[in-house]
Amino acid sequence: MVPELLNKTGKKFLIAVPYNAVFCTIIAILLSILEFAPKGKEISFVDNFVFSQCIGGFCCLFSIGAHNAFKDRKVLLIAAFGVALGLGTIFGELLGSVILWINPLIFIREVGFFFKILFGATLFGSVIIYFWHTREKIIETKTMAQDERIKRLTSEKEMIETNLKLLQAQIEPHFLFNTLSNILSLLDRDPEKGKSMLADLTRYLRTSLSKTRKDVSTIGQEMALIEDYLRIFKVRMGDRLRYEIMVSNDLNDAPLPPMLIQPLVENAIKHGLEPKVGGGEILIRADQNEGMLHVEVADTGLGLQDHEASGNGLTNIQQRLHSLFGDQGRLTLEENLPHGFKAVIEVPYESDQGHYRR
């Protein structure tokens, strides 16, 4: 913090030195013309020049330091500028005295003269500070606007990419064509079953495709979508798929980003149960605890082995959680003992949110 402050101040000071020197020279010329001096004494141009350079230099250095240290706190900043100019005047007078080999006590003996110098330094200093400060502010605002723009564009791009990925995930060709061929085959033998499967597919596609454009869904809506999805697979896989959804009714209205849980269920089928001879079970559970909502998708399928390289959907979920909730959103993937895979999503949850909405 402190070294950084010194570093910044030093850099800015170096940039300001030439301007400051020119300005101080002008002041020295002015003072010589006005014959500025304590009563009954005379000050040469050289003396004026040295003192004004020294005082100006210190004032400049301290003001820049003050500006860097208290940039964002207005009252403190003004006070700090005052102190900087006062100290700058004293230090400058001391340095000037040393350079010109004058007894610095002269400034104590001639108090009126000292205050005149202080007044001058404050007056000119304030003008310069005001000028520099305004200029810095303008530059800063411009940079901020630029950053903001870049940030907005980046997040827009990310959102579009995520939406695209979600969209691709929903209309995964294997799922779509396999389901369609099942429906076609059922329409001959068992038209009622075929029709209800078609209805499930239609509802699933409609909800999931429109969901990608919305930001917030609810647990209830997400579970309904998942049930449509699982019913489709139940027809396709028969006894090889068993599932249960355990979500208490009071969590139905809990807000949840759309299509966050569905990919977990899809993974459980695709990498857990579908490739397993004999299939297995999926258990979906949701509960809330200490301001967090936990949603768990556990299966008794093949386990971790098939997931390692195939985690596109999982990576996508993790990125979404991170961008939505930062460190508060978590995706944990682990073994479901004795066999299978378990994915847990945790997101922040305000339990009374559901109440006043009802």
Binding site: N178, S181, R189, E274, H307
Partner: protein, 217 residues
């Protein structure tokens, strides 16, 4: 002449039934001598009943359709059924192999049936040439699968194993029997050799440094 016999292997029952019905109407003389719901049973069935034709779904539990064809190489003509042309099977259609996509239409199945009839009349018994062509085509087919990059890594956490994102890994270090992985949460052990890791990790993100020098993040 013996009747021509076929088996159908698909893990989804409705699809087996529907293919069977379509075949019955398009090719009434064909005998469906067995059905299998996974790759293991399909291999057994082919070995036991020695059919002339096997209709194999590519994605099946146990063994994939391609693995089934490999294991029973040349014993019968193979028709792959796939929901989606992920293997671009089109390029591999040969004397030994045909494919149809789901949903199977009668028009497309008719073409396959005609091809099969022709091939079987010219090559009634399985021959070494058939076997050879098939093995060649199958290995080409399998190599088409693009290798996927490791995105999650199995990590030992206490009693259980967890999948952690590779993105959060700072480095892997091969100083123990199993390599250690360092994430922001600390060091854990993984069950993969450094050699297999270096093949599976994205080479743009991880470099292998010999003699375990300074870790790279």
């Amino acid at each position: 002449m013996n009747p021509i016999r076929a088996i159908i292997a698909d893990d989804e029952a409705p699809l087996r039934v529907s293919l069977k019905k379509k075949l019955e109407s398009l090719w009434p003389e064909l005998v469906i001598c067995g059905e299998a719901e996974d790759g293991l049973k399909a291999v057994e069935l082919i070995q036991e009943s020695q059919p002339n034709i096997a209709f194999l779904d590519i994605r099946m539990p146990g063994h994939s359709g391609i693995e089934v064809a490999r294991k029973t190489g040349g014993m019968c003509h193979v028709v792959f059924i796939t929901a989606y042309e992920e293997y671009a099977v089109d390029a591999f259609v040969s004397e030994a192999i045909d494919y149809i996509v789901k949903p199977v239409t009668e028009e497309r199945l008719k073409i396959t049936v005609d091809r099969l009839k022709k091939r079987i009349s010219s090559m009634p018994e399985p021959s070494p040439e058939l076997k050879e062509t098939m093995q060649r085509v199958l290995s080409a087919l399998e190599s088409r699968k693009t290798p996927t990059r490791l995105q999650w890594i199995k990590v030992q956490h206490g009693d259980g194993v967890r999948l952690d994102p590779v993105e959060e890994v700072c480095y892997f270090q091969a100083s123990y029997k199993y390599p250690a992985v360092m994430t922001k949460e600390g060091e854990s052990l993984i069950r993969k050799t450094i050699t297999s890791l270096s093949q599976e990790l994205d080479p743009n993100k991880f470099w292998r440094i010999q003699q375990a020098g300074k870790p790279l993040s």
